[in-house]
């Protein structure tokens, strides 16, 4: 309705705000997981929103969250690239590991998982491409296809990243049960 308003220019920011504000948490969450800290995540969200605003004229409806997250992702990766000057951000994909049974039982895992800081530390240890797939799947509830579109890889790759990310996360959370001091609370 706002698009046919006779004063589109004045309303541009308002339209833009209406479009991105519902997805602000999603943008921050992704930036936070990809940068690893609050300070950089804030900068990245701001830079992403400025870019998004610049490109907003080209956004013709559709899934605003995916649109914004794609911009956040690109912004963060170009920033990481600038910063790391050619260092590899992604490790090369390895062969899919075989499913292995782990010694920990669901109750133990539940107990460990109750401590949000433990979980966050564990996720932070994952390689970025696994972490990214997990964030989009478990936190944003995207389908494999949507994750493939946002991250620019095939669905098979998404599935493999998710599987390996979950496997590693499970392993990290299951390790050293005794070192998990503060779980009881």
């Amino acid at each position: 309705m706002n698009r046919i308003n006779p004063r589109p220019v004045e309303n541009e920011t308002t339209d833009f705000e209406k479009t991105i504000l519902p997805h602000f948490d999603a943008a921050y969450n992704l930036a936070r997981w990809l940068t690893g800290n609050e300070h950089d995540a804030r900068d990245m969200v701001q830079e992403s929103c400025l870019r998004a605003f610049k490109f907003f004229g080209g956004f013709r409806g559709g899934d605003a969250r995916s649109w914004l997250l794609t911009i956040v992702r690109n912004t963060v990766y170009s920033w990481l690239q600038r910063r790391q000057k050619g260092e590899h951000i992604f490790q090369p994909e390895e062969e899919m590991e075989k499913f292995e049974d782990v010694s920990v039982n669901p109750e133990q895992l539940f107990a460990r998982s109750a401590n949000i800081e433990v979980v966050r530390e564990a996720i932070a240890q994952l390689p970025p491409e696994f972490r990214e797939a997990l964030v989009l799947r478990e936190m944003e509830n995207y389908s494999y296809k949507e994750i493939a579109d946002i991250t620019g890889v095939r669905i098979g790759t998404v599935m493999s990243r998710l599987a390996r990310g979950r496997q590693q996360l499970h392993r990290i959370l299951s390790q050293n049960e005794e070192s998990s001091g503060g779980i009881a609370s």
């Binding site: 309303n11 920011t13 504000l21 804030r42 969200v45 929103c49 499913f99 979980v119 389908s143």
Partner: protein
């Protein structure tokens, strides 16, 4: 379905990516196989754990980012400038007249910039109240609840009237701090849209600001009555907002 097949499909099953038939097959297998069911529980626990690690955006980030976006917007500023050229001309003439008459030029300028600040701040407050969860501090359609709520929170008593009868039901109120002073914000509804009516005492000797304005696409109607400034800010049509202003004035300045 055997355990190998089931283990291979458990992730896709949990992610809701299987077709109906495969889905039923996996479910069937899980019912009969404790080991696979436990693997599924493990995955579920892991998914919930990961979900709980979500980082919500810090409260102040939204505003600072929106402010940066607005500042970055040269198009809006230049086009708005062109569009307003006629009203600027009028303002220019008024200003020239003021200079010629030699009356309080400095004061006029100060007032204008203060007016701009107020416009911006009140519009921001309106926008914030809509996008955040902080529309009201006190939620009530009863003027006798909202009015006493302001006591102790403000150094003045804003008139409060429920205007349901005129199509503007009272939603509630909140206290704001704007332009260096506390301001009452009364929230009214008009067909699913909200009107923020900002009320604060007029400074003694200050000039009355009244009339309609638009700021970033929001309509603003301003008036003064019984020593109070009233600024109504909303996205509802200007005509509706004027009706609202008339209804409010009518209800609060009834003959004693």
């Amino acid at each position: 379905m055997n355990c190998d097949d089931a283990r291979r499909l458990i992730a896709a099953y949990s992610d809701g990516e299987l077709d109906l038939l495969r889905n039923l097959e996996v479910e069937e297998h899980l019912r009969g196989c404790d080991s696979c069911a436990s693997a599924r529980e493990n995955l579920r626990a892991l998914q919930e754990a990961a979900h709980s690690a979500y980082f919500r955006a810090p409260d102040d980030l939204t505003e600072s980012v929106l402010a940066a976006v607005r500042e970055s917007d040269p198009v809006r500023q230049s086009v708005a400038g062109r569009r307003d050229s006629r009203s600027w001309l009028t303002a220019g003439l008024a200003l020239a007249a003021a200079v010629l008459l030699g009356f309080f030029l400095a004061q006029v300028l100060v007032r204008d910039s203060r007016e701009q600040t107020l416009l911006a701040e009140l519009t921001d407050s309106h926008v914030r109240s809509l996008i955040g969860t902080h529309l009201t501090d006190v939620i009530s359609s009863d003027q006798h609840t909202v009015r006493p709520w302001f006591e102790g929170r403000l150094d003045f008593a804003p008139p409060v009237a429920d205007l349901s009868g005129q199509g503007f039901p009272l939603v509630g109120g909140r206290a704001e701090y704007i332009d260096g002073r506390s301001v009452a914000a009364l929230v009214y509804e008009r067909r699913k849209h909200f009107i923020n009516l900002f009320v604060w005492p007029a400074e003694a000797g200050s000039q009355e600001v009244k009339g309609e304005k638009t700021q970033r696409g929001y309509n603003i109607v301003r008036w003064r009555a019984s020593g109070m400034n009233y600024w109504a800010v909303s996205e509802v049509a200007e005509e509706d907002l004027r009706k609202f202003a008339a209804a409010f004035s009518g209800a609060t300045t009834s003959p004693r």
